[in-house]
Point group: C2
Chain length 227, copies 2
């Protein structure tokens, strides 16, 4: 049974891939190189794919900087040292317009070509409540598009989106990853890494990751610029 | 008022853009260079954008050949000389997996960055009934994704898909184009053009176009390899 796995090089998508493997799927990784600030994310996705024994890995070039509009693709500064209460407010500056809609549509094309019934997607509503395209309603709406807009859907071969981390806390995601032997040392979470290869420890993503490891009682193998 | 126009270089998208202009919109063309067999489509989209006075034109490179799976991106032969009854049956070999879902998701990102309320999309249910991603239900489903999966949607700035050609026959599309002075000579429809720059006249797209011009009583400025 084939599954397309949207892989960013981050912790959540690595745990998602490990869940797909545990579910008995052959893993077809899909990574979009969309002009994110840091090419390291794409490199790490490749290493995670190898570590988990992916059947294939497509890395697509798609320069979303052509549209502009997000801290993750260049123009604006990445917010630092925000308190949890502030992180939970509104939609972050790191929101990339329609990113997950684009990623899921590409995963849909790949799944249809492979005749894969599943797309595994590491969306999570708790830590990233500000991102509209991580919510369950969005995922269900996208499944309707998949059913109506593909040959597979018209012919009754449904392509389902599995988001196994959707309702988990970061600590629960990390514990799941530990139980599935996810190579956490290969994953990259920082929005603004400091040379030479350190995570900043201060952006929203670093803070959420560190709190998660702390709460899970697990050592984070990533090196941070601040203690 | 801004509108993103999905522009393929073909006749339908040129008429769609002209309708958007008539509707009072500033035109922001978006063309995806997705590995279609013929680069001429992208060149024609650029010429149509210039002819209609587009405010901007983004041409995105996205190599869908990485996924495979369609006559339009390389592997299989383009069907020729099919009768209307056969063309109407099932899903054509020229179906590209999830293509319009991908194109609309990219248009959605562009519209969100521009703060454009409209995406103009040249889908049509009559001549291309076989393509699942040209149907009204698909378009409505995608609008739900746009509403739920973007910052704009969450904040109440709806992005609407306008498909002004949806229920028109090819002859009606051509008459609309005539009334709006669409530069038909710049548009390209052939799935399998013959050097030096002639349309084949035999693929589904050429046949539909020629019948449309005939029914509309309008001369087609395109040169065909067969009479």
């Amino acid at each position: 049974m084939k599954a397309v796995v949207l892989a960013s090089g981050g912790l959540d998508s690595a745990v998602t891939a490990a869940v797909a493997k545990k579910d008995g799927c052959a893993l077809y990784f899909l990574t979009v190189s969309y002009g994110q600030r840091h090419q390291i994310e794409v490199e790490r996705a490749c290493e995670v794919a190898r570590a988990l024994g992916a059947a294939d890995h497509v890395v697509l070039e798609l320069d979303l900087r052509r549209f502009g509009g997000s801290a993750l693709t260049g123009a604006d500064a990445v917010p630092k040292d925000r308190k949890q209460a502030d992180r939970a407010k509104g939609i972050p500056a790191t929101y990339v317009p329609a990113r997950n809609t684009i990623f899921l549509s590409l995963a849909l094309a790949y799944a249809e070509v492979l005749d894969a019934p599943y797309i595994y997607f590491g969306a999570n509503v708790l830590d990233y409540s500000g991102y509209p395209d991580c919510r369950p309603d969005f995922i269900r709406a996208f499944e309707a598009v998949a059913r109506l807009g593909t040959k597979a859907g018209v012919e009754g071969r449904m392509i389902t989106i599995r988001a196994p981390l959707l309702y988990l806390s970061k600590a629960e995601i990390i514990r799941t990853g530990v139980s599935l032997k996810v190579p956490f040392h290969l994953t990259h979470s920082c929005y603004d890494p400091v040379p030479p290869g350190l995570a900043c420890g201060r952006c929203d993503s670093c803070q959420i990751r560190r709190e998660g490891f702390r709460q899970a009682g697990v050592a984070d193998p990533v090196q941070y610029a601040i203690g």
